[in-house]
């Protein structure tokens, strides 16, 4: 499935109010890779992700998904291939019940009813939320909402998963469950996050975005050990790599 | 102010329902024609916004009381008339269901009073004319104020007319009008201020937002059709209600027309459903629980609707015994209903 590569070349984007959010971003991600996108607030992570499935149209530069450049014509195909989990699950869960929400995508794909049922139940089972199927989304906890939001994307059968801060607002247990879940996926994944400890667990590769440019791109261990680089990008070494002040008082 | 089920007659409620349903279908078709699928979530979320916003109050200068945002005008400004009407309709539906504001039969009246006037009259003919193409803070203030006030005046007039034509309340038309219009002038001013404050803020922060509504429909193309549909519906309602009155209970309203036509109309109910009802009532021979006022007799016009017209002669004098038995019976029925409910609840809990 070598065609599930993501290729972005010299991407520029300016918001209508004049904020230049991306100024020439380029990278290439191959099949099965799990990539973290980190960077300070306002660095342009969300903006970049919105380009990957055509929610925003690049001002200059290209986005290629597999063999297709992303254009109006390939948009439906690309959206089926690329599943996007939004930062705020409340934005993503708009249907009356969990089941309806997870079924929303497959319904729009025009699948037969049996297939829809199968896909919905499978997606819910994957995230461990099958018991929530008849609940309305506004009566779920933050972690449950996140799980269902992921299921609502999985039910579309995407080969590339894009997530914007999936671990924000989760308690330690829910976060741990999410990490397990993400590790079990074989999809190509791009995760924008501030949770660098999660990055260590889930992503083999890390890109740092700074002021709309890629400041660094490489193996996660290398990048997250590079203190000067992290500091320059307003980031911090993840706690786990900082060493324990109790067992290692000299460093502390 | 929301019209209540308890105050309207089926004729008024039903006809206003029909008018509102027509406008809803028409607006839905218009919204679909606009082909702007951004509006699908936008309408719903803005409806929820109006709800949330109405829970935040502000202090009315120099009075110490408080006011809040009205929905219709701001929605029309942000969404255009058709989408705004649909949104208003669903806001009022949720209010009727969850807060018992109004009621389900009165929903037609309420959607008409609070949705039709701001969306299809005040916004296109007043706000747009005042604010026009070159919006500035002063124009927005004047436009919001005037259109909010007028929309509410029309809405209040709607409430008065609907109440009056229903004939359940004894309030004379003129008195009710004199109470309602000034109250709603005050409410209108407050709402105008709130609307202006919010619209000005949005216009300053993000002028493009307001163009969303303006874009699909330039100033010159403001359609008269919904207004005509609405007014026609009202005319139809008035005619329908008048004839209902002429045949039913003109009394209690100083309505000379009904009095003049009273005699012939009395004959009318002899056939059709009314006659059937009356016959059924005669056959079962249950006496009504109360008699007519003596004075009613020489007016010829009975207080009761047609169904009971036939009995007028049979119970000229008020019988204390009947009244007592009526009340005893009502108590008994209530007790029985209560018992049934209690029994069912026990059964339900055991099941």
């Amino acid at each position: 499935m070598s065609h599930h590569i993501v290729e972005v070349k010299d991407l520029h984007y300016t918001y209508p109010d004049g904020t230049a959010a991306l100024g020439g971003v380029g990278f290439r991600i191959t099949h099965g890779e799990s990539v973290a996108l980190i960077g300070a607030n306002g660095a342009g992570k969300s903006t970049l992700l919105l380009h990957l499935n055509g929610c925003l149209i690049p001002e200059a530069g290209t986005v290629r998904m597999g063999d297709f450049p992303l254009t109006k014509k390939t948009l439906p195909h690309v959206r089926q291939t690329v599943g996007m989990v939004f930062q705020d699950p409340d934005d993503q869960l708009f249907m009356p019940t969990v089941y309806d929400d997870v079924a929303f995508g497959p319904l729009n794909l025009g699948l037969p009813p049996d297939e829809i049922e199968d896909r919905v139940m499978e997606a819910l089972a994957t995230v461990g939320a099958a018991h929530l199927r008849n609940r309305p989304p506004y009566r779920l906890s933050g972690g449950e909402k996140r799980a269902v939001a992921i299921a609502s994307v999985l039910s579309m059968g995407p080969s590339i998963l894009i997530m914007d801060e999936p671990s924000s607002n989760l308690d330690p247990k829910a976060r741990r469950q999410l990490i397990h879940l993400l590790k079990s996926f074989e999809h190509t994944m791009i995760i924008a996050t501030h949770d660098l400890d999660m990055v260590l667990d889930v992503c083999g590769r890390t890109m740092i975005l700074k002021g709309g440019h890629i400041a660094a791109d490489g193996p996660t261990e290398e990048i997250l050990q590079n203190e000067p680089l992290l500091h320059a990008c307003s980031l911090e070494k993840p706690l786990r790599l900082q060493g324990c002040p109790v067992c290692n008082p000299v460093r502390a | 102010m929301h019209m209540a089920d308890a105050l309207i007659s089926p004729a008024v409620g039903g006809l206003m329902w029909a008018a509102t349903a027509g406008l809803t279908v028409y607006s839905a078709r218009k919204v679909k024609e606009e082909l702007d699928d951004r509006k699908v979530p936008l309408m719903g979320v803005l409806g929820a916004f109006i709800f949330a916003a109405q829970m935040i109050n502000f202090t009315i200068p120099a009075t110490g009381s408080s006011g809040h945002l009205g929905g219709g005008m701001i929605l029309a400004i942000l969404l255009g008339p058709y989408a705004a009407f649909l949104t208003m309709a669903s806001i009022l539906t949720v209010q009727a269901l969850f807060f018992a504001d109004g009621g389900l039969l009165a929903l037609g009246c309420n959607i008409f009073n609070l949705g039709f006037f701001p969306c299809f009259v005040a916004y296109p003919f007043i706000f747009r004319n005042i604010v026009g193409a070159g919006a500035n803070a002063r124009r927005i203030l004047t436009g919001s104020m005037i259109s909010a006030i007028l929309a509410l005046q029309m809405g209040a007039l709607g409430v008065v007319l609907e109440t009056f034509f229903s004939g359940i309340s004894e309030l004379p038309f003129s008195t009710f009008l004199l109470v309602m219009q000034p109250i709603h002038l005050a409410i209108g001013i407050v709402e105008g201020m709130a609307t202006a404050a919010v619209v000005t803020f949005v216009w300053k922060a993000r002028p493009e937002v307001m163009e969303l509504a303006a874009a699909p429909e330039p100033l010159t193309r403001v359609s008269l059709k919904p207004v005509l549909v609405g007014l026609l519906a009202v005319a139809f309602i008035t005619a329908g209600v008048l004839s209902w009155f002429a045949s039913a209970s003109p009394d209690g309203l100083e309505w000379s027309m009904a009095r003049t036509s009273g005699k012939e109309e009395l004959e009318a109910p002899e056939h059709g459903l009314h006659a059937l009802l009356a016959a059924a009532q005669k056959a079962t021979a249950f006496l009504p629980d109360y008699g007519f006022k003596e004075q009613e007799q020489d007016k010829v016009v009975p207080r009761e609707p047609a169904a009971k017209v036939q009995e007028v002669e049979s119970w000229p004098s008020v019988n204390g015994g009947t009244s007592v038995s009526g009340i005893v019976g009502a108590m008994l029925t209530l007790a029985m209903a209560g018992l049934i409910g209690f029994g069912l609840r026990r059964y339900q809990q055991r099941a």
């Binding site: 729009n108 994307v153 | 105050l7 945002l69 807060f99 389900l104 949005v202 209970s249």
Partner: protein, 270 residues
């Protein structure tokens, strides 16, 4: 601000009631919607001085409250809270119509009081029936039912969206109000200008949210038409509910049952 939170609690409470599973909750929303409308229509069709003949209609809400396991006290309290307008308009009747209509021995009751009682009774019945409808069907059921009954799709969709985001936005508004009052150090009330900023901000955030929701919808293949997937099946049970109650309502409209029972009792005793 207690008001905003209590309104929100109200919605949540009714919503929770609607998610129970009883015989009544399991009925097709259409059956309940149509029965409720017939009920209201027949109740308001009584002449304005009718009181006793309205009493048997309490049976409908009472039976549904019992079968659907709803808290009667809470619903009664909600009915009372909604009463002011009907009360305000109705209370003029005793003032304007003081001719004696009923004699109870030495006491005469004026037509105005009788019609006022009738208004309040109608009010309780119609509002009660509407509340029972929500508490047994829920907003989403009602939306789907209305669509199946012929309401335009965009209206039904709008209704479900409104309801969905009511919970999110009231929460947001409540947070905003709390944040403001924490920084206003006991100064009560909000200036119009501050109010404009607050509501304006809430509005802009709301519009951004709408945009994000739209993007999320597009990402999952939304093409403009939104189908509400609630599957509805109108079974014999629903038909029975609708037909049974409707015929009872019509019977109660034609026959003044309390009058008849009262006569029976007073005759036996006399």
């Amino acid at each position: 601000m207690p008001k905003i939170e209590s309104s929100f609690l109200d919605i949540s409470r009714l919503d929770a009631l609607a998610s129970q599973r009883t015989l009544i909750h399991g009925l097709d929303p259409r059956a309940k919607i149509v029965t409720t409308l017939i009920f209201i229509f027949i109740v308001v069709s009584f002449p304005k001085h009718e009181v006793t003949a309205l009493v048997p209609f309490t049976l409908y809400p009472v039976v549904l409250i019992a079968l659907a396991n709803l808290p009667p006290g809470y619903l009664f309290q909600k009915v009372l809270l909604a009463a002011p307008f009907a009360f305000f308009v109705g209370i003029f009747n005793p003032l304007l119509d003081s001719e004696v209509l009923i004699h109870l021995g030495p006491v005469g009751i004026s037509g105005g009081w009788v019609s006022f009682a009738s208004i309040m009774l109608r009010f309780g019945l119609t509002v009660g029936a509407a509340l029972v409808l929500v508490a047994t069907t829920g907003m989403n059921g009602i939306g789907a039912g209305l669509e199946k009954l012929g309401a335009p799709n965009s209206f039904a969709v709008q209704l479900t969206f409104l309801y969905r985001y009511l919970f999110v936005l009231t929460d947001e508004a409540a947070r905003m109000v709390r944040a403001r009052s924490l920084r206003s150090f006991g100064i009560k009330g909000t200036e119009v200008k501050v109010f404009g900023y607050m509501i304006g901000h809430l509005l802009l955030r709301t519009m951004d949210r709408a945009q994000r929701i739209h993007q999320a919808m597009l990402c999952r293949g939304f093409t403009g038409e939104l189908r509400l997937p609630v599957p509805l099946k109108f079974s014999w049970r629903d038909m029975g509910f609708l037909a049974g109650w409707s015929s009872l309502f019509i019977l109660m409209r034609l026959v003044n049952i309390p009058q008849w029972m009262g006569l029976l009792v007073t005759e036996v005793l006399g």
